[in-house]
């Protein structure tokens, strides 16, 4: 009987054969924490080891400072300092401080992620690293602390869902719209505890940033991981960053042709339209056309789901085509995922053009997914964002948010009300 990708990944990490449903102790390739959750991990580790503990392998522990970067309060500054000092004491060199950007993206850009790696982090969207075939998962501080003892933790070997996507996106439609459509179709627990493998010609042609978008939203369907084995340009990019071992991993960890799936779904994107998650849940999905004209106070383009250069380029194309600026009274914010993405935006000349058009262009950070940093919404305000969750009050008590693609978000920023980007792009 053939094996799925997650079965092969867990087999590699466990060093033995595994079966679906079994609980298995796995070796970690990387165990990470952020400025959020990181201080909790450090304090807990020091407490349970009487400050005498050593992490099992300082080279396999990393810290990323992204939730509130740079820090906006004394409390957060203190937490970040707690992490810096612990890293120094433990000889942990992989500390990506407040200048780097969103953790998983930074790890990926720095060549620290290979297909088949098992990675923990205090971020529920760690699993976007499934975009390069890694099994990364968000966990709480106790799981991180436990993994620091001997570099292991346990997983249940999950069943796997297979999603095949064919067709070409029409102008103004992109991977985010497909994802929103899938979340609307399957619902908030539609991938409950599952691993999902993505196939089909749409996926094979897709870029790294599209794959990241796709895999990041698996969390919003309560999935464990979404996996795509790197091919084409994504594979070239990854080999350049993470080395030749990537090639072996791709060969040995791809799913078998006769792998067993618990569910198989097919989607075709030829006739897909721009989609949006309406307030106040990711699975409350409608076509953008159905809510066009609705008032929006603030637009935010960025986040671990849609903060890559390609996402910001897509927004830029809408701005260019509109030959206009942000609507009066509208607040539009763009946040690149990482410093590397920000530099790409600078080199492409986007930042200047966005600023001239009235956009606020920020440093790379997760901050706009919280109510505790810049861009928080007051009660009653409505936002549109390319982030991944829109439960009531997420970015400010009593506020509501629509989730949409960077193109829809930019079109909405320009017109001052929810706008189908095809109305601008033609």
């Amino acid at each position: 009987m053939g094996k799925t990708m997650i079965e092969k990944i867990i087999r590699r990490a466990a060093g033995r054969e595994v079966k679906v449903g079994e609980r298995v102790w796995c070796r970690m390739d990387l165990s990470t924490a952020r400025d959020f959750g990181g201080a909790n991990c450090v304090l807990q580790f020091e407490e349970v080891t009487d400050k005498k503990g050593k992490v099992w392998d300082p080279d396999k522990v990393a810290f990323t400072f992204d939730l509130q970067a740079p820090s906006h309060s004394e409390k957060v500054s203190t937490n970040q300092k707690i992490i810096r000092e612990f890293a120094k004491k433990q000889g942990i060199k992989k500390v990506f401080d407040v200048d780097w950007g969103i953790g998983q993206h930074v790890l990926l850009e720095n060549g620290l992620v290979k297909p088949g790696d098992v990675i923990l982090g205090t971020d529920s969207h760690m699993n976007l690293l499934g975009a390069v075939g890694a099994f990364a998962t968000g966990v709480g501080n106790t799981d991180i602390v436990a993994s620091w003892f001997e570099g292991t933790n346990w997983f249940r070997v999950p069943e796997t869902m297979k999603i095949t996507v064919n067709g070409k996106f029409a102008k103004g439609v992109c991977m985010r719209d497909l994802l929103t459509h899938i979340v609307g179709t399957l619902g908030a627990d539609g991938m409950f505890f599952l691993s999902t493998e993505f196939y089909g010609d749409t996926i094979e042609r897709s870029s790294l940033s599209e794959r990241i978008t796709l895999c990041s939203m698996v969390t919003e369907m309560s999935g464990k991981i979404g996996l795509i084995m790197p091919n084409g340009k994504v594979l070239d990019w990854l080999v350049e960053r993470a080395g030749d071992e990537v090639l072996d991993r791709v060969k040995t960890l791809a799913a078998d042709k006769d792998a067993v799936y618990c569910q198989e779904l097919e989607f075709n994107v030829d006739n897909l339209e721009p989609m949006t998650s309406c307030p106040d849940a990711p699975d409350n999905v409608k076509k953008v056309r159905e809510v066009a004209g609705e008032h929006v106070d603030q637009v935010h383009i960025g986040s671990c789901s849609n903060g890559r250069f390609e996402d910001i380029s897509a927004a830029f194309e809408v701005l260019k085509k509109a030959n206009s600026r942000v609507a009066p009274g509208m607040r539009a914010i763009i946040t690149p995922a990482t410093r590397e993405v920000m530099l790409q935006c600078a080199e492409a000349g986007y930042i200047q053009k966005f600023l001239e058009a009235g956009v606020i262009f920020t440093n790379p950070t997760c901050a706009l997914c919280t109510a505790e940093h810049y861009g928080a919404l007051p009660s009653g305000d409505v936002g549109m964002s390319t982030t991944n969750r829109n439960f009531i009050g997420k970015v400010g008590k009593g506020s509501h948010t629509y989730l949409a693609s960077p193109m829809t978000a930019m079109a909405t920023a320009i017109r001052g009300k929810i706008t189908d980007p095809r109305d601008i792009l033609g």
Binding site: N79, G140, T142, D143, A146, K397
Partner: protein
């Protein structure tokens, strides 16, 4: 786990209760678990008074996918240290489930609870009696009863040890 019958009032929630609604991102910088209960459910409309009014021994009762969203363990601590002895839900989100087990914090999977909540068969303020060992849940206010399944497999071993850290320490000693 102690084998005893618990009594307390129900705090009833729907499906897909996200971690920002349980413990909002505004308070993520908190590092002392015992200070977390004061923020519980502050951002969930209709439940803003939970933190002030919850009594030790009260139960959290929810539908499917409880604790979806973020990985924050704060969302478990804030209920554990508020004195909620067990969470009863039809299902738990993956990370929330792990975080509860890792702290030796009991959860019961209760079939049909989501629909029962929608049908008003279990309501806010109802008096509940919960036999953790047997998984028997009785609503003393209206006479309805439910059955909940405890965790199994490795998760039960971790629960019995009192949490993941304790489990690993026991394992290290027995090596």
């Amino acid at each position: 786990m102690e084998n005893k019958v618990l009594r307390g009032k129900a705090w009833v929630f729907g499906d897909d209760i996200d971690t920002d609604l349980i413990y909002h991102n505004k308070y993520l910088a908190e590092t002392d678990p015992k200070k977390m209960p004061q923020y519980s459910f502050e951002y969930l409309p209709g439940k803003e008074n939970f933190a002030k009014e919850v009594k030790e021994g009260d139960f959290v009762v929810a539908g499917t996918n409880f604790g979806c969203g973020s990985s924050r363990e704060h969302a478990v601590y804030c209920l554990k240290y508020a004195g909620v002895p067990v969470i009863l839900a039809e299902s738990f989100s993956r990370i929330y489930y792990r975080n509860a087990i890792n702290n030796g914090y009991p959860v019961l999977f209760v079939k049909g609870l989501s629909q029962a909540i929608k049908d008003g068969k279990i309501k806010d303020g109802d008096d509940l009696e919960v036999d953790l060992e047997k998984g028997e849940i009785r609503d003393l206010t209206n006479g309805n009863s439910f059955h909940g399944d405890a965790v199994a497999d490795l998760e039960m071993d971790i629960m019995k040890a009192g949490g993941l850290i304790e489990y690993l320490k026991e394992k290290a000693v027995s090596k």
